[in-house]
Amino acid sequence: MTRQQTNRLAKIAISLVAALVVLPIVLVISYVVYNGIGVISWEFLFTAPRNGMREGGIWPALLGTVFLTFGTAIAAFPLAIATAIYLAEYAGDNRLTRWVRLAIVNLAGIPSIVYGLFGLGAFVLFLKLGTSIVAGSLTLGLMTLPVVISTAEEALLAVPQEFRTVSLSLGATRWQTIRHQVLPHALPGIITGIILGLGRAAGETAPILFTVAAFYLPELPRSIFDQTMALPYHLYVISTQVPGMPLSLQYGTALVLLLVVLSLTLVATVLRTRMRRRRQW
């Protein structure tokens, strides 16, 4: 075999392997859509499960996931954005900063089930919040911190240095510069990070297992100190814990969860692309 033939063969092999990675993604999504689309109806989305969850809809779980997603946003974002501002605008190149960055890398790497354990130990038991929407949102919020911090920092760093120099040279203070020059320009990027983080939080199961998720709770939560059902946990429950569960309802639930999470991711991606195109510096 000549070198040219080896070259051609290698390139074909590489393309095939890449197809092996990409095709299953398409397959997975179309498989869920194909099997789940049939049960999606007004009734499925907006009524509570009935008959031991074997009939009816997913409304309490869907609404629970919406509550938890908002809760996560409130819990995570003030802290995440302040941390990003610290890293992008204040932190010097010193040991402390390196420690902060190491902490963020490790926060991102802690397994979600360990966040669940921490939420149980700290929020549910120590702070006596009980298994509640607050406890679950705080747990999910902590888990979301690293994603939001790193995207927000990137957005802040993308604002040209000249903007700051000009603002400072006109007599604005450091905080005025950040508040009126840097943050407005970084805002779309920060929002992208927030939505990405929320997409991840909405699909997580392990952190909410012991902190908020209810196995079966047809009534809707009345306050933030109540338990709630949530879509990811509901999918787990109906696919493994309920015998005789119709497969179509399982696929339907999986499809709704997938749509919720992917639409958040999609919005974030579109926002980012549009922002990059609009940028004029």
Partner: protein, 314 residues
């Protein structure tokens, strides 16, 4: 970044009262921002502290011999961590063995071979994969993949291999994007030089680009391991949850196993708070925390070292 101290200390010697009030308000805001930065370190510390608070008693109350035993059977107060460690190890090793070559080759395809339009199509698709919730992949593994594995000849469909396969796809987005960055960081001159002396594209990729990017590829592998070892829901649904050590044989990947993460998730709901079993589950959490902390710190050290090396070279 605003690091120039002169600029910050420029204002007039006698600022007007309004300006002074503004300044002190800003002082508070800046302290809050600094506090937020430091809070990340505090949070990591708190997480570890709370794990220790609930889990440390297990290491005192359960004899070391029991903890290192080969049986995890809480009803008989047998808390051997070994089968769970082996379970996690098998699934993780399997996932990495599948995902690293696949991820690296896909990164090569995206970075060196694919035309622009394909790259613009495939990259968002891989981001979509990163966005699919693990419970959805676990569900598909449970209803669709496991029966296939069984048909292929395994005694049951819920095996370490099934878990490894799903985990591999879950860690692919991480591995692909880091490998791609590593390949991208290889200077164009290397490629030009290789092609100029008559190497084919394949020779250039395999003998020049990939070796030059190897530190990034190592980092991708390490982070892939970290991602795989901590995955919970998908693994719990497809690995069969049998807490025994598979016999060391060729078929060991095709037996049910139980990972550390799955054990916590499956059993925590049923234990009494403060019981020995409860503390033992937190003890597994401590082990997981330390493992992933070590892996991620290693990766971030490698990333720091790699950057330095490159800037020294060029």
């Amino acid at each position: 970044m605003l690091k120039t101290e002169q600029v910050a200390s420029l204002p007039a010697a006698h600022p007007a009262p309004a300006a002074r009030r503004r300044r002190s308000g800003e002082w508070w805001i800046e302290q809050l921002i600094r506090g937020a930065g430091l809070s990340t370190i505090v949070i990591i510390g708190l997480i570890f502290l709370f794990l220790l608070r609930e889990g440390l008693p297990a290491f005192v109350r359960i004899s070391p011999l029991n903890l290192l035993g080969v049986r995890w059977y809480p009803i008989e107060e047998l808390y051997g961590l070994l089968p769970l460690l082996v379970g996690s190890l098998l699934v993780t090793v399997g996932a990495v063995v599948i995902a690293v070559p696949l991820g690296l080759i896909t990164a090569i395809y995206l970075g060196e071979i694919a035309p622009l339009w394909q790259r613009e199509l495939l990259k968002p698709l891989i981001e979509v994969l990163a966005g699919i919730p693990s419970i959805v992949l676990g569900f598909l593994g449970w209803v669709a993949l496991a029966p296939l594995v069984q048909q292929a000849g395994a005694p049951t469909g819920l095996t370490a291999f099934t878990g490894a396969l799903i985990l591999a796809y879950m860690s692919l987005p991480t591995i692909i994007s880091i490998s791609e960055d590593a390949l991208y960081a290889v200077p164009k001159e290397y490629r030009d030089a290789a092609l100029a002396i008559g190497a084919t594209e394949w020779q250039t990729i395999w003998r020049v680009v990939v070796p030059a990017a190897r530190s990034g590829i190592v980092i991708a592998t390490v982070l892939g391991i970290g991602r795989a070892i901590g995955e919970t829901m998908a693994v719990m649904m497809v690995t069969g949850n049998a807490a025994n050590i598979p016999a060391l044989a060729t078929g060991m990947f095709f037996q049910p196993v139980r990972t550390m993460t799955a054990t916590i998730a499956a059993e925590m709901g049923e234990v009494a708070q403060g019981s020995l079993h409860y503390q033992a589950l937190f003890a597994i959490g401590i082990v997981l925390f330390l493992l992933t902390f070590a892996i991620n710190s290693l990766a971030s050290m490698l990333i720091g070292g790699g950057k330095q090396q490159r800037s020294n070279q060029l």
